[in-house]
Symmetry: C4
Subunit: 251 residues, 4 copies
């Protein structure tokens, strides 16, 4: 095995939904998944290390080592949906293309198929380079049925977006789900990609709330959303004034 999994618990789950929220564009998926797992009190059940993660440790302010890992958490009987959930969280993705596949494939074989995962949601950001007032939530699905189920929840399937497809764990895991006949989708919050986008994460959270029949206390998140909004406003103002100056110069 190219990855090593250490279990801290052995949950009995009933056809759980997998939610993947690893770092990515605007860290949108990570913010959403970390938030959900935290708010809903998800329990840790495994740590994953891998030759494909960066060969290093970080150090927290107390001087304690933080190795490069992914972490697995679970929840049973969530909200009105009564669904079980497995969360794939972490601060790292694999550093090479084949490493991306290797890690996701081993997790699929060793954990997700073993726990009879019924649906796979990979969360991410759709980077546009632009700051938008109202980020859309876009999707890519394993099949038409899943697409039709998600559209009423606010997920838009827009031809040609994202044009470049989906790279990394969010794409690979969805492809593996489809390969194994498991339904699922990548759900992406539109984002500039310039900063950690808490605002875009909020829009994706709207979809998650509907999917699982839960309501989150968003106070912390909303503070961060507001900070992002102010930052975005400053950028928009600055850009606008720059253009005015440019017109002046030409005039």
């Amino acid at each position: 095995m190219e990855s090593v999994i250490r279990y801290t618990d052995e949950p009995e789950l009933n056809k759980p939904v997998l939610i993947e929220g690893l770092p990515g564009v605007g860290n949108v998926g990570k913010v959403v998944a970390d938030f959900m797992a935290d708010q809903l009190g998800a329990k840790h059940f495994a740590t994953v290390i891998s030759k494909h993660f960066p060969p290093q440790i970080l150090i927290d302010p107390s001087g304690i080592a933080i190795p490069a890992t992914n972490e697995l958490y679970y929840l049973k009987d969530v909200g009105e949906s009564h669904l079980d959930i497995i969360f794939l969280l972490g601060d790292f993705q694999a550093v090479t293309p084949d490493g991306q596949f290797a890690v996701c494939n081993e997790l699929m074989d060793e954990v997700f198929l073993k726990h009879d995962v019924s649906t796979v949601f990979t969360l991410g950001g759709y980077g546009t380079g632009q700051i938008v007032e109202t980020p859309r939530v876009l999707g890519a699905a394993t099949d038409m049925e899943t697409k039709n189920k998600l559209e009423p929840y606010g997920v838009s399937f827009v031809p040609g977006e994202p044009a470049a497809g989906i790279v990394g764990a969010s794409g690979v895991l969805l492809g593996l789900a489809q390969f194994h006949g498991i339904e699922g989708a990548c759900i992406m919050g539109e984002t500039s990609g310039y900063f950690v986008d808490y605002k875009s994460a909020c829009y994706v959270l709207d979809v998650m709330e509907k999917l699982f029949g839960v309501k989150f206390d968003r106070s912390d998140l909303e503070l961060k959303c507001q900070q992002i909004e102010e930052l975005a406003e400053k950028v928009r103002t600055y850009e606008a004034s720059k253009n005015k100056d440019n017109l002046g110069y030409i005039g």
Copy 2:
């Protein structure tokens, strides 16, 4: 295993011929193989994913995920040859040199040897950088006997062409066939390499028709060939006028 194979069918084949048509120079091999499989009604029997394919999914206009895969199809009792065929098709090749070998070697071990493949034809384009009126069909064979069998069918074996040998799946699979004592050849349509060359594909199809004793309905393909012809004509005209202008400038 570095690749994962999921079977959708378990065909019983009698010493089938393997035809490989993955993306390559001018996509000549891919056009030929996709066309043959489609026209002859080949049946799907396996999907292959691999750590060596790009770690991404593409998305079709409906919003459905297209992972990076190779696909295997089969036919029984084809045309007057009555041969069985396995098609290796797809939109992707492995992204690294060792990945190229790994994928082909695993397919050879897990699928082709298990199905007792008797002959291997890898199809491709021979990129010359020039647009030619009448593309030749060139070959490289595992042994003299196979070369002698193919020459009457219109495959030319020209010393020094291709000078650089054959790189990628078409080369690796042929080398593996030779290694396992299986006869075969790489059959290449001469092409500029600038665009998907339907015209070159037609000349390779001529050889395929003779080899398998079939006649294809080429209406769709011929429309595309004509479009390529018009495009090539435009390029030739433009190049010619450029040269005239240059002479004028010097004069």
Copy 3:
């Protein structure tokens, strides 16, 4: 296996402490570990070769080949601590990121866990780019308890140092120790990183002496420390005069 281990001995060890001293910043860790193993008369018990080490041999002055290896040594009942020690020594680290993990992980599985290692100390240098009078000894630990045990021995845990974390075998092995629930720390001597820092090594040796209740005969080492001190003094003088000249120029 990506590494090959050849045993020259089969020591029976009682919950040994692992000390890793492979090449790194200022080679501080390597100097300390090589010195300790030599002074305490450690016995060789295994040689490790790996596809991840550079594919070459060096040649000693007699014309004898020196392949790329790591070496394992052991000691029983050391000093007043009465601890057993395993030393991981060598002139090479793995040349790729995933190779780093692979080598350390295989050693952890095949050797360290099998010998019931109780504590892991990875030794290294903390490169600052500056030559300091009195190098500090910094640490990163697997857990708070270990941190608290080490501080009285002269190991400083300073928030934000090292800011970039710890890369390579020293970081990976510590992360693996933590992953397997083994306590440990990376102990780093502050160093400029410009040369083999025997002086910084001396300060780390102070900690080792206390940890294991031994006293080393440092005569050889002190000669080298003095040489480093003179070299450092020359550099400081040169830098100072350069600055004076600069001030003169501006003045």
Copy 4:
């Protein structure tokens, strides 16, 4: 396995000597090994393909595919030495550092140890960038005893040469031999490295003749040596005249 070995014969050998002559600096080792195997009528016993060789085929003038392989040949009871020999020959080495090790290590495990190889000679060129009148034959040995045995045969062990050690199959295989307690040496003909050096190969052949108690018919080789000599003379003359001109220019 990352390499695949296909046997064409199953020789019974008695503690054979391994002679490796893969492509390298000046192709000196390859010329010597190919020549010996051919002259002595060595018999083919295995073909090796590997994911680590370039993923391509070359094509011979008849249009027959030449895949990337290494080949194994054997001889029994050679010359006055009465030694058995295994030759490792080919046109390719592995294309990556870890691939170098992987191929050599698998051959060591799967073939050489299984055949109870008693001695390993890896042949190569010692590239100096200079054309010399009388190329020396240099060596690096696994141990002092082997060094002492080889010096009377004309192999020089010069401290500091080669300074950079030995990279590639010649180095890796020798390191592996030493690792497994098998005696051996790398025997290198001094060469400029600019062209296939048949002259340097002749000097290495002198050593081989003494080691195995054989005398080769060198007519073909001597013709090529002479051609190299004439080429080298031209280069020396040209270089000398250039220098004269330079002096004139300065004067």
